[in-house]
Symmetry: C2
DNA sequence: CTTTTCTTTCAGAAATAATTGAAAATACAG
DNA sequence: CTGTATTTTCAATTATTTCTGAAAGAAAAG
């Protein structure tokens, strides 16, 4: 396969993965582009490569920076900003795990905690309490695992699991 | 908090979680409703509880069945179908992990494999190969962990991690 | 076969989300 | 300050996804 075709396939695939993960397709594509870039890219270059508008590029670059997946690179004597993505795949996975935990797991834990003191003791209420308690406990365990993963070095988790399974 | 309010909050929260996971909100809400139900519900009851149309209810119930999260329950002498969700939270998590692996991880692995034989050896091509190889390796490791998790008993993973961390 | 009950499908409507492009804001240089 | 390069914002547009409701399909009962 020729390089330009491969590059395009990779960007498309990454974008598709993004959308099934609730991440905007363009955001994922910009990330893909930066992942395989040999040097930092400017907004202009990103717009050009992906055929997207300035506004779209800017918004999604900001979102990537918010997620901690991309950084600004400022160059001596250049007014323009350049952007670069971290290249360590495990670090990337850990960063995503950390952000998703913050954005998704924590809100549901908050709700579940509020539901702890539901009144009544009929059959329905009992079932409700049982279920929400179980989910709450599960969420706590998931949090523990995610924290462990996010704070681990490299692919420590994989190595450990490799040994014990 | 009164039960009806708690129930509604739970359903809303589960729906919200669903949408940030690329799962349609209604699908997640039906699932939430079935999780806390004391017995199997009919399509009518689901429509009524969530104020949704028959078509919407039917489509999303089918999707839940496809995902292996909900089962039909047929009753002696009843023509109607009733639906019930599994109540084991770890089993639920494992089922979701299994399905997402099939739907998301496997497609990207397929693309990455195709990209293995990209031609050329310039700086850009080298970077591309390096990155895609790393992602590919990561995907394989993630697959191993997911398989291990999906096939594990109960909260085995959590228990093991609890011991070694 | 006909009727009744229930399920599935799907075209159009409604709701959401993403994108554009131009104007406003910012930041620096002269 | 004024001009220029760049980034940010946002109202309007476009695209995508979800939902509805009615019609068609299927299955059992009479």
């Amino acid at each position: 396969m020729k390089y330009p075709e491969a590059k395009s396939k990779f960007i498309q695939a990454w974008g598709g993965l993004g959308s099934s993960w609730g991440v905007n397709r363009t955001m994922a594509q910009i990330h893909a582009l930066l992942l395989i870039a040999t040097e930092a890219l400017s907004t202009e270059e990103i717009m050009e490569e992906l055929k997207i508008s300035r506004g779209n590029a800017n918004m999604n670059i900001r979102a990537l920076i918010d997620w901690g997946l991309v950084e600004k690179e400022l160059r001596q004597g250049e007014r323009k900003e350049f952007f670069i993505a971290g290249k360590d795949v495990w670090a990337l996975a850990k960063q995503i795990a950390k952000e998703r935990k913050k954005r998704e797991l924590e809100p549901i834990q908050k709700v579940l905690d509020q539901l702890k003191d539901v009144e009544g003791d009929g059959k329905e209420q009992e079932e409700f309490k049982k279920m929400t308690d179980e989910i709450s406990e599960f969420a706590d365990q998931a949090e523990t695992i995610l924290d462990l993963f996010s704070n681990s070095k490299s692919n420590w988790l994989y190595k450990v699991i490799g040994k014990i399974r």
